[in-house]
């Protein structure tokens, strides 16, 4: 797809193009997200970029009331929790993401079900004291 080096920065930079990118080992076929320079399965070093569909299923989650400063700065608090989740992508690997939905969604544990289908949503975050950035989120399909 391209010859960009498999670094964590390049992984995040693809978010600006709404692309969830990882890589695939040319030797054993296993996929990584974010990309790795050395295959985690066969330890081969010939890999190529691939784009993930962004579709997956919720593996586990927590509705966090006492949040990290970064989320507190986004307005989340004990009465207004946010959802941290682990998503298994349809290509196989898992990744952490901020699970979002319609107003009030994150405050209601009953809305969440392990196995529920989700799709990636790139979240544009602007908070005090940091450069605007894009985070990986997921929303219900």
């Amino acid at each position: 797809m391209n010859n960009e080096e498999f670094t964590i920065k390049n992984y995040f930079d693809f978010f600006a193009e709404n692309k969830l990118m990882g890589n695939k080992c040319n030797n054993c076929g296993i996929m990584h997200i974010p990309p790795k320079k050395i295959c985690n399965k066969c330890y081969g070093t010939k890999l190529e970029w691939i784009e993930f569909s962004g579709k997956g299923t919720l593996q586990t989650y927590s509705l966090i009331g006492v949040g990290a400063r970064y989320f507190v700065n986004q307005g989340y608090k004990i009465e207004n929790p946010y959802c941290f989740g682990i998503v298994q992508l349809e290509e196989g690997p898992c990744i952490s993401g901020h699970i979002v939905g319609p107003e009030g969604f994150e405050q209601n544990p009953k809305k969440f079900k392990i196995g529920m289908p989700l799709k990636a949503k790139f979240l544009h975050v602007e908070t005090e004291g940091i450069e605007p950035k894009i985070d990986l989120g997921f929303e219900p399909i």
């Binding site: 593996q59 990290a68 507190v72 682990i86 898992c94 952490s96 392990i114």
Partner: protein, 420 residues
């Protein structure tokens, strides 16, 4: 392979009182409290300056909590052992469990006969949101933190998965908390020395004093299910979480050649095991069990020649109530998904068949993260010698014990087995 080249014993162990000590007491003060407590525990006396050959110091994050990064030489100075070697060991919340392991390995190798291993953390110097952020630095800060991960949040994700897979309930978590409050109430070194019943009485008294309608909780479960016990990270509530704590703890490790110079009842460390796993929870094969802990346990059991059924008492890493259930399953005491029922049946209480966290655990003794591993060894040392304070001494002769110390959300673990 996998055996200690010679026997190593704990001949002294002590700790500072755990609690919210800053600014009255800071790292160097708590460390000296722990040193004095340790010296007093050595039956035939010890001269640290003369006898200690190296210091292994566990500390997670004095850099972030206290703006102090280079702690070991200072703590060595306070123990009087400069210019002998001293370095800090970092493995998140199992920093001092691993510091103790390195001390054991050094003595077993023959390079030293007598070493000091300890741990220290002062967490209350910074506001709670900074404690949360600093602890989150033990997770994958590039991939987990922007998704919202906190330390309680990651364990809550483990709890959600455990509930889904095994039908574990919030009441199962409450059982762990109630037991550990009962134990902490008997520990003069614990941060919280109250049973849940006493916590409830306190809240009722307070409400009456303010002229408010007193709450009508009939039992600990009513209270734990109420809004007075809010979700920190669903499904984990406030009383499922360990505390923010300042404290220090140490052990003195001696070779078999000199151990009896210090005591007639050395506590032998006959197994030590350590494991690692992916830093991010999302890269694990299992979300309900820690591979690092299972690996550490298998190594330690194999080294000692013992099996889980031989262990009579254990201190396990209950940074959250779910973590105690996972620990009991990872250590092989119970099959996956079966620990909760055993805890509910009282098997892990002080008078049960397998007392767990008689110290009160991280839950009530407190969790100054870098000091927790050696503080677990302090409790084992006391229980095996029959000198645990107040009513928490287990009423049987303890010949074989275990401690289990986990770093982060299970990316590092260390397990020790002790015999008399």
């Amino acid at each position: 392979m996998g055996k200690l080249a010679r026997r190593v014993a704990i001949v002294g162990a002590g700790m500072s009182k755990f609690g919210a000590h800053y600014p009255i007491k800071q790292n160097r003060d708590l460390w000296q409290d722990a040193l004095i407590n340790t010296i007093e525990s050595v039956d035939h006396g010890v001269n640290l300056q003369k006898d200690v050959e190296e210091l292994y110091l566990g500390n997670f994050s004095a850099d972030l909590f206290n703006h102090e990064a280079h702690l070991a030489p200072l703590m060595a100075q306070l123990a009087g052992i400069n210019p002998k070697p001293a370095a800090r060991i970092e493995a998140a919340c199992c920093s001092s469990g691993i510091a103790m392991r390195y001390g054991v390995l050094a003595v077993a190798s023959g390079i030293h006969d007598f070493v000091l291993a300890g741990g220290i953390e002062t967490m209350t110097e910074v506001p709670t949101v900074d404690v949360t952020d600093s602890l989150a630095a033990a997770a994958d800060t590039r991939l987990e933190y922007p998704a919202g991960a906190t330390f309680p949040g990651l364990y809550a994700a483990v709890a959600t998965a455990h509930m889904h897979k095994y039908g574990t309930t919030e009441e199962n978590f409450f059982d762990v908390a109630i037991k550990n409050y009962d134990n902490g109430a008997e520990n003069p070194y614990a941060q919280v020395q109250m049973t849940i019943e006493q916590v409830i009485e306190g809240k009722i008294t307070k409400a009456k004093k303010r002229g408010l309608e007193p709450p009508s909780w009939n039992n600990p479960y009513d209270f734990l299910r109420s809004e007075s016990n809010p979700y920190i990270a669903y499904p984990l509530r406030l009383f499922d979480c360990s505390l923010v704590t300042d404290g220090a703890a140490c052990v003195l490790l001696a070779s078999e050649d000199i151990a009896r110079k210090y005591t007639d009842t050395p506590i032998w460390i006959t197994g030590t095991g350590q494991g690692s796993d992916t830093l991010a929870l999302h890269d694990r094969d299992s979300l309900t069990s820690f591979l690092s802990a299972r690996t550490a346990a298998q190594t330690a059991f194999k080294m000692s020649g013992l099996e889980p059924k031989d262990i009579q008492i254990a201190e396990v890493h209950d940074c959250f109530t779910i973590a105690e259930l996972v620990a009991l399953e990872d250590l092989g005491f119970y099959k996956p998904g079966e620990a909760a029922a055993a805890v509910s049946a009282g098997e892990t209480k002080r008078d049960g068949i397998l007392p767990i966290n008689t110290s009160g655990g991280l839950k009530t003794k407190g969790h100054p993260v870098g000091a927790t591993g050696t503080a677990q060894a302090v409790e084992i040392f006391k229980q095996m010698r029959g000198i645990a304070e107040r009513n928490r001494q287990v009423k049987k002769d303890i010949e074989r014990a275990l401690s289990h110390n986990v770093g982060g959300s299970g990316a590092s673990s260390v397990v020790h087995i002790y015999e008399k």
